[in-house]
């Protein structure tokens, strides 16, 4: 064991960020074959760290984003996915609140930035395939467990929550029906407060009931939207 790198094994991270809409975190490569290109943050695994730890370390070094729960997506292992060398990569993904993190490019990255899905193009290697796979996974996850706890302000309106679902699932939802569904889950607590400084009727503010939120995460539910 040493902290030498495993020559043929890498990590790539797909970080989805939510503010008003869904974004993806990319870094500009400072070196190597893909120098100057925007790509998923990625790097090499060392011999003395678990895969999950490698993913967190690499993400932090390249982007400054830390303390994020990374979930494994899949290993991508086509023979020619990487040029000149056989490299299998293990992809991870996460969904975070963009405004909670300061971006700081480092290590092999010269720049780091949030991108709208629509402006992403020409990703190197098989990163496009990884990203598409991550989008599918995200949609699945959103339907299988509640999201939003770390993505919205502590107090939020039902419409904000609805927008979150709409941008993660890329669909439009009916407002009254969404309210009914969400309120029926007893997941939200009425703050007995209203929005301020809005140029229309102020909406009620809610917050998550942490106990219910956690138990819904475990005892699988299916959100049929």
């Amino acid at each position: 064991m040493s902290d030498a790198i495993m020559e043929d094994l890498s990590i790539d991270c797909v970080i989805f960020g939510f503010t008003d809409e869904l974004k993806v975190l990319l870094v500009k490569h400072a070196e190597g074959i893909s120098q100057g290109k925007w790509a998923l943050p990625g790097g090499w695994v060392t011999y003395d760290e678990d895969l999950d730890d490698a993913a967190s370390r690499i993400l932090y070094l390249l982007t400054g984003v830390e303390n994020v729960f990374l979930e494994q997506l899949k290993a991508f292992g086509a023979v020619n996915r990487f040029p000149n060398k056989r490299v299998v990569t293990v992809a991870y993904y996460s969904l975070i609140k963009a405004s909670d993190y300061d971006l700081l490019a480092g290590y092999t990255a010269s720049d780091v930035q949030w991108f709208s899905p629509s402006e992403i193009k020409d990703l190197p290697y098989d990163h496009e395939q990884i990203l598409n796979y991550a989008f599918d996974q995200l949609k699945n996850r959103v339907k299988q467990e509640p999201i939003g706890f770390n993505l919205l302000p502590e107090k939020f309106t039902l419409l904000q929550l609805q927008h979150l679902y709409e941008s993660a699932l890329q669909i439009k939802l009916d407002k009254p029906n969404f309210r009914r569904k969400i309120l029926g889950m007893n997941l939200l607590i009425d703050c007995h407060e209203k929005q301020k400084n809005v140029s229309h009727r102020a909406a009620k503010l809610y917050r998550f009931d942490e106990t219910v939120y956690q138990s819904l995460k475990e005892h699988k539910f299916v959100l049929d939207l």
Copy 2:
């Protein structure tokens, strides 16, 4: 590129087999640290094959089982999961009809056999963790797409299909409700035939409508049982 092995990357396969109940395919290791132990079929990836191909090759060499659709489960990469050496393994799984395959131990396996989940114990490395993960994945998959096409005889009764679901999901189902649900999907075609040589009222035989089956596989549905 060569057909040398990647020293630090392996494959492990979880093969679920269905006959009357759910079984798992294990091999007895003929060499190495776990010699004489029953374990998941696994082996090393070479430099010149895709991960998916490596999985198929290894499964075939060890067990004689071929032409199986293997789906990737997850990469397991804890630092000490394998003794004396850092090895990351990519796990695959599949669900097949046990009686369709002849078992033939080979390569690093001295024996191969189907096991009931309850009789499996003392698996080496982190194979128990992998197996448990595969069970969870199986349950998920069974709920998200139709199964049975390759697991049941061409003509089968509703009760046989129900037993398949019950053993994959490890739950009991209500017979009339299961019938209603399945028949309502228009997935089955009435063969206008009945069971023979049974010591009770013979049940109707059905077969899958291949077109509907395939389209249900793609346009995700959720089976709420």
